[in-house]
Amino acid sequence: MIKHTIHSKNMRPLAIDQKPLAAERRVLLEHEHIPDMNKIDVYASKGGYEALKKVLKTPMTPDQVIDEVKASNLRGRGGAGFPTGNKWSFVPKTKDKPHYLLCNADESEPGTFKDRVILEKLPHMMIEGMIIGSYAIGAAKSYVYIRGEYQYAAEVIHNAIQEAYRAGFLGKNILGSGFDHDMTVHRGAGAYICGEETGLISSLEGKKGWPKLKPPFPAVEGYLRCPTVVNNVETLAAVPWIINNGGAAYTKLGTAKSTGTKLWSVSGDVNRPGVYEVENGISFRVFLEDILGGMKGGKKLKAMIPGGSSAPIMTAEEAMKCTLDYESIASFGSMLGSGGMIVLDETRDLVQVLKNLSEFYHDESCGQCTPCREGTGWIEKILHSYTEGEAHREDLKLLDRVSNNMMGRTICVLADSIAMPVQSYMKKFPEEFERYLKKAG
């Protein structure tokens, strides 16, 4: 018999229950708080699937859909921030091979838990976005690759897909437009690397999540060597709004280069950790004071990791000066990434933080490329002995050399995800490392 999975009600992160705060700008999460929003009828009653009807009924040609998304300047919300419109346009127009659209719901980046809100509360928004995206790139099949641990979210998505089939939004000849499309939920089984675009493709092919060599790029030769597009949950969820209100309307939100809104999942030493949707370009100071309720216990901010653990760290001063958009964060040498912000107060020992991160990347390195497989282990061991009282000055030079020799030398960027933080922690917080040197005498 199949064990019946039980889930508990308290899955929702805290902050989302209250009504939107003044500084928030809920576009995707506008109706998120409505109960049973994950059911198709409630979703349709709030304007759901209108975008799909607009695309298939008018009908819009796939190129028009792509141009609309290009006009919105929507950038990938998974971490790389690559313009979605361009990504879709790379898929060859010829139909000799089947095309695939894969939704990257693996969300394993430490500090990131924003996709979970959409997966559990607004599954239909993502499904609608996936159908539109598949129509745009001519994909007959799409898969929601969801991380194995999100068992409850996988069930919600699965039920939503069945509802969509029953409502005629999936299957054969959708809304009489002649466009057939099948969608399936595919559970991962616990591997951070499957969040990487080609790692996900390898995993979906029934193999170990080993990223593939690029070139060939997935748009040309991806899943089963056919043209494939991999988009993040939040990216796809934004597509229906863009189709309904037009790309231009989306550019009015946020800044010129970082248009629209972004879901930020905040954790660490703040009073109200949780998932918030804010307009791009909001200053971190406002975000911290108004939305996050300031630092927990009134402590002083020491550092902030903006985009998930693989983003280089920002000092308190830098954080206070930056605004939450791709360009500003990049100007401080970090990355917006997936928007998994971790706030650290003055009591945090950043060398221990870095050691914890190195344990994560050592454990999650898939082991395919030598620099990353051996380098992550080496960095963790160096940091381990560094913090266990055997700190030497050459360790710092060695850490710098090893992380330098990992950056840009591997098939995927997992090596860079630990190498860049190591470099940034040592450059921006040298005093933290000095303390250990003095302690070791």
Binding site: C366, G367, T370, E374, K381, R409
Partner: protein, 508 residues
Amino acid sequence: MAGEKKVKITLNGKEIEVPAGQNLVDAAKDNGVEIPHYCYHPGLSVAGQCRMCLVEQEGNPKLQIACNMKCSDNLKITTNSEKVTSAVQSSLEMHLINHPIDCPICDQAGECGLQNYYMKHGKYHSEMREHKVNKEKVVDLGDHVVLDKERCILCSRCVRFTQEVSKTSDLGIFQRGDRAIIGTYNDESMKGNYQVNTVDICPVGALTSKDFRFEQRVWFLDEAPSVCSGCSQGCNVSVHHKKGKHIYRLKPRFNEQVNKWWMCDKGRYTYKESNYDKRLSSAQLGGIDLPFEEAIQAWTTDLKVLLAMERSDEVGVFVSPHHTHEELKSIIEVLVSQFGITKFYAEDIDAMVKADAPIDGFLYRSDAYPNSRGFLKVFQDKKIKLHSVNDLTAALSKGSINHLVMFIPEGDRILPVTGKIARAMKPDTFVVCLTPQKGATDQFPGALSLPSLSHYEKTGTVTNHMGLEQSMMAGFKMFKESHSVQEILGLLSSRYSDARHEKGRVGT
């Protein structure tokens, strides 16, 4: 290859022309630039894992791996810039930080990729002070291969080989990250007839051959190009021997048409038939050693008596397709044209050639002789009829043959046939065995045995099942007393003609 489109690429500033689409690593090697690589192998799919073949491509800030690059027009590559050499050195360092460095007890020492590249690209002082990851050391993967998981650099060549070439898919990389290990399912024995190929392509000492385990150090071995004697496929091999005294192993040699980079396990152990324990090391008469000269003299006198009385039809010659073209030609020149012997006997080679087919769908074929086609062609050209072994046994028992010349190859395959002949033979028939193996002479107690060369000592040509003539240039002799068939027959014919003209001293 002439019709192929050529493209111009610039390698280290020098413009060269290479076939379009050729892999950059191969193209560079053809033009004298050695790009270091572990996981790339021309016969396997591209893995791009070891990151040793990083090169600088103009217009691309990041270093690119060369093994994933196909040559296309105006591709500009630099392999000797400072940035590339330091990248290669650091990739090598990463390979070595968890390596046990147990070269004293590792069979691969001397031909190990890590040693070679450390001397060419490494030469750094290791700064690895942390504890190395320990893994299982000596794991028995069946009767051909021994695995050492600690030495493995996880280049996945062996895994790709079992999945793409031998198609047994019994090797895999388990676990994750630097705890990853190579092995079979629960370390069960490997399957298939191509296991030892994984030992050849393993760049380090992780997979070592059980047969060659601790036998000899590779820098003591000399190499001689030859062709495998296992079957009619004619895989090109190189014979590894020490100063011609003992053969330690066979390794496949690349040949585009015949066996590419591979060879089967059956053929790999055919060298054992050439080694000391199996060999007839000196001429014998009825089991008693005697100098080679006297043996030839004895043979000449008996032959002379018969031929003088015009009874050349009482001489029977048994031949086998294990012999090279040159040997067969010298047999025909001496025995047929000079002595007029007509009765030749052999196994049913026609049937073998017709029934010849690959047994395991890849290299190993059913016809167990390396030169069957050549053998048939030589005898058909000279229009000499080949009688069957049954005719020979009948003739022997009838007594119409009382001078029997047996050309017996090495190996146990032939012994049942020669055994049948030996049993059918009358005790007083004069038998001459030209064979490298002791096993054959034991079957003919009263015979005059002359030690000839084993297959891997021969220099000559054999024709494989495709009709491809392949040459063997061994050029070493394991025993002072043994001579090639051509030499023996040469001595015989010169002794015979001397005896006839009663002049000229017998030259040693």
